[in-house]
């Protein structure tokens, strides 16, 4: 595959998947088997509620409007993909431009909403997506065309080191896979095993939760603590705020305050 065609294929694949899955996220609300997604309805209801528009009709209508625009975006990229597969570069570029322009318009609309609703983080997020779209168009229009490499004397498979890289890649993949497998085997028990506590002050026990832990571990930990300390009653459970964690190394700190029965 020519370099420019590979980059075009990557761009089309990325943005088609992006908008296709955004539409699916609207069609499949809530959490289901094989789909988690984001609850945009709740987000919109809260946004409009903060404006004083508590009737869910506003959020529903706004979300339906956004979904329609996202579906339009997806269709434009899909049309560009079809023309890419047909090797009709002129039509592909026309559809891609329409897709990118529609996407930029949608992110501009989102950014207006972010300003109105005062969500500065989402404003940054949407601003960055908007810029990536703009830059993607510039790359498509001026970056790829005319920069094709002169046909190399020999295919890459015959360049120096190619076979070595294939062998090293296979060995590296096996090494990484073995390590992943071993780590998974060694730590998977953390999914439900109770955490062992350490008494850090008189009647105060500290629990350092692993990254794999979830609510089941919390429940198992409390049950195990009660079973192993029958002479103590739990007064209070304190969740250590993130400031108490060593950066990145600790998932969650929990303190149980007790007193003798």
């Amino acid at each position: 595959m020519k370099e420019s065609r590979m980059i075009q294929a990557s761009i089309l694949l990325f943005w088609t998947a992006f908008w296709g899955l955004s539409v699916v996220d609207k069609v499949v609300p809530d959490v289901h088997f094989l789909w988690v997604g984001k609850d945009f309805f709740a987000l919109f209801v809260k946004f409009f509620g903060s404006l004083g528009l508590k009737d869910p009709l506003f959020a529903t209508a706004a979300l339906a409007g956004v979904s329609a625009l996202e579906a339009l975006n997806f269709s434009l990229y899909a049309a560009a993909c079809v023309n890419f597969l047909r090797k009709d570069d002129v039509l592909m570029e026309k559809w891609l431009f329409r897709g990118l322009f529609a996407s930029m318009s949608l992110f501009a609309l989102f950014s207006i909403g972010d300003q109105v609703f005062g969500d500065r983080f989402q404003l940054l997020e949407h601003g960055l997506f908007w810029f990536v779209l703009l830059a993607t168009w510039l790359i498509c229009k001026y970056g790829i065309s005319g920069e094709e490499q002169a046909k190399p004397a020999s295919p890459i498979q015959k360049t120096g080191g190619f076979k070595v890289v294939m062998i090293l890649g296979a060995l590296g993949t096996v090494a990484a896979s073995t390590s992943i497998w071993q780590f998974s085997h060694a730590t998977f028990a953390d999914v439900e095993a109770p955490v062992e506590g350490a008494e850090v002050a008189d009647g105060v026990f500290k629990f350092d939760f692993p990254f794999l832990a979830d609510k089941r571990v919390w429940e198992a930990t409390v049950a195990d603590f009660r079973a192993t300390h029958p002479g103590l009653v739990i007064n209070y459970i304190y969740t250590g705020p993130s400031e108490l964690n060593s950066k990145k190394k600790t998932h969650l700190l929990l303190y149980i305050f007790t007193e003798p029965i």
Partner: protein, 267 residues
């Protein structure tokens, strides 16, 4: 004719070299992170198994083999991306610019494919922050590819030499600032590192209510030492509950963690 040694290299040549170095190191350390797994002495990294396991469990796939298989696919893409960028770097160093470009094209293709797959996962698992992160990396990969191929034509723009007196002045100013900051940092370390572990005093603010203000260096050790000290200083009291002041109630950036200890008399 382009030179590989830095003193005679063009600015374009150095930037292209920097792009290959960046992506080689980027993927090398991602592979190392997969191979090491977990936090160790001198390596924290990220527990990708826990992250993937939680993602798939949230979608109803709790068997660890799913997370393992996904991580293996990701690791394979990363290993080959690293090797192709490293190969491109080696060919570039040997002045095989055309071959280096072909190798980088494969590395870039693998990078784009990896981030596209990750972005699809972010949609499915509803992680919008990671979606933004992966989109930015995806774009950085395309952007660096475009810069790399465009700079191929810019070989004649050699680094111009800087007048000696400007070099000397800049060097002296840099050394002066470096010395001042180094002294300040070491002084701060000498004066205040005890805050990393030392127990804090609780200030009584109301009947049975005490306030503890953390320094920025404080962590779990300070919290625990503070509790020990508090219980020793107030032997007749027991902790009823602890209230952590939420971030919106703290002064922007000036306040670290603040918590209140609510107590009651021991029975």
């Amino acid at each position: 004719m382009r030179k590989t040694d830095f003193l005679n290299a063009s600015t374009a040549h150095l930037i292209r070299f920097g792009i290959l170095i960046y992506w080689s190191i980027f993927w090398l350390f991602n592979v190392v992170d997969k191979v090491i797994g977990g936090a160790h002495f001198l390596w924290v990294g990220r527990d990708r198994f826990a992250q993937f396991q939680k993602y798939f469990a949230s979608a109803g796939l709790e068997a660890p083999i799913i997370a393992d298989a996904s991580l293996v696919v990701a690791a394979a893409l990363e290993v080959f991306a690293f090797l192709f960028f490293a190969g491109a770097l080696a060919h570039f160093w040997r002045k095989n610019a055309g071959v280096a470009r072909s190798w980088m094209a494969i590395g870039t293709g693998l990078t784009l494919l990896t981030f596209t797959i990750f972005s699809i996962g972010d949609h499915i698992f509803g992680d919008r922050f990671e979606l933004l992160e992966h989109t930015l990396f995806w774009f950085s990969s395309i952007g660096s590819w475009v810069v790399f191929v465009h700079l191929e034509r810019q070989g004649e723009d050699r680094i111009t030499s800087i007048p000696r007196h400007q070099m000397v002045r800049t060097g002296l100013v840099s050394i002066g600032i470096a010395v001042a900051t180094t002294v300040s940092i070491f002084q701060y370390n000498t004066d205040f590192f005890y805050r990393r572990t030392a127990a804090l005093s609780a200030e009584r603010v109301d009947a049975d209510l005490y306030k503890v203000t953390f320094p920025f260096l404080g962590g779990s050790t300070v919290f625990e030492e503070t509790l020990v000290k508090f219980l020793e200083e107030h032997p007749t009291k027991t902790v009823d509950h602890i209230y952590t002041v939420p971030k919106p109630l703290r002064l922007k950036k000036a306040d670290a963690l603040i918590f209140y200890i609510a107590t009651k008399e021991k029975p």
